[in-house]
């Protein structure tokens, strides 16, 4: 069974939208019949990516975060994009516990969480242009 479904949305870079974004994605993927665990994994990963865009990508809450989702068969691909500051050193940014905002008590675990809860995470970024995080997860692949 090969089904395809796609959605795109954008919203203000306000922290209140972090919850909105993860719930929106969770409802969108509901048709794939994910387990509760899979839903929670996806919500956590989306929350991390969107929070990064809001905290690190942008300084103004009026800036927009773009969120898109493509379901293809049993796999969902989620992209979170901003047109903000960009990441100078992606490898460094993805290191566990690395954070550029210790004053906000960031744990530095955002990318680690995305990688732990999704099957694949790709980050591309250009300084001054923005960052795009693409994450894929196969639904129904979980053991136990």
């Amino acid at each position: 069974m090969q089904s395809k479904n796609e959605m795109r949305m954008w919203f203000d870079a306000r922290s209140v939208n972090e919850g909105f974004a993860r719930v929106a994605v969770a409802s969108f993927v509901a048709e794939m019949n994910p387990t509760l665990d899979e839903i929670s994994d996806i919500k956590t990963a989306v929350s991390e990516a969107v929070t990064n865009a809001i905290i690190h990508g942008y300084e103004r809450p009026e800036d927009k975060v773009l969120l898109s989702c493509v379901i293809e068969g049993d796999t969902v691909e989620i992209a979170v994009e901003d047109t903000g500051k960009g990441i100078p050193d992606i490898e460094k940014a993805m290191e566990p516990f690395y954070t550029t905002r210790p004053e906000l008590e960031r744990s530095g675990m955002g990318f680690s969480f995305m990688e732990a809860f999704m099957d694949e995470v790709q980050v591309s970024s250009a300084v001054g242009k923005g960052t795009s995080v693409r994450m894929r997860k196969k639904i129904g692949a979980q053991e136990g």
Partner: protein, 117 residues
């Protein structure tokens, strides 16, 4: 303003909200720190009975309080973790820093509420 914290005899009980993300983290941290400073709290207990979601922002709040408590010889513990929160603790390694009631790896059934006084 919503309040999350409750001063108990000898410790600060933090009722972690239903969803603890970056959006909620700021106000929770502010409230807890205010009380910790004002009442010289030396023990903080994070209660997750009502918590369904937590991401790395929540981890930041707990690690931060744990570090501050460490400076003054206090401690931070966590209780009533559901399966999801357990997973978050495990993946982040938080279970190595913060003592949890009943451990984190334990059985998957809902934990019994036997808060020792």
């Amino acid at each position: 303003m919503e309040t999350y914290c409750e001063l108990k005899d000898g410790y600060l009980l933090v009722h972690v909200p239903r969803e603890l993300d970056h959006h909620r983290a700021g106000s929770l941290r502010m409230e807890a720190d205010l009380l910790i400073d004002a009442y010289q709290v030396r023990k903080v207990v994070f209660d997750f009975s009502g918590t369904e979601f937590m991401d790395s922002s929540g981890i930041g709040v707990i690690i931060g309080r744990s570090r501050n408590m460490g400076y003054c010889g206090g401690e931070v513990t966590a209780q009533n973790l559901n399966e999801r929160i357990r997973k978050i603790f495990m993946v982040s390694g938080l279970h190595k820093i913060v003592k949890t009631e009943g451990g984190v790896a334990g059985n998957t059934n809902r934990m019994e509420k036997n808060h020792a006084e």
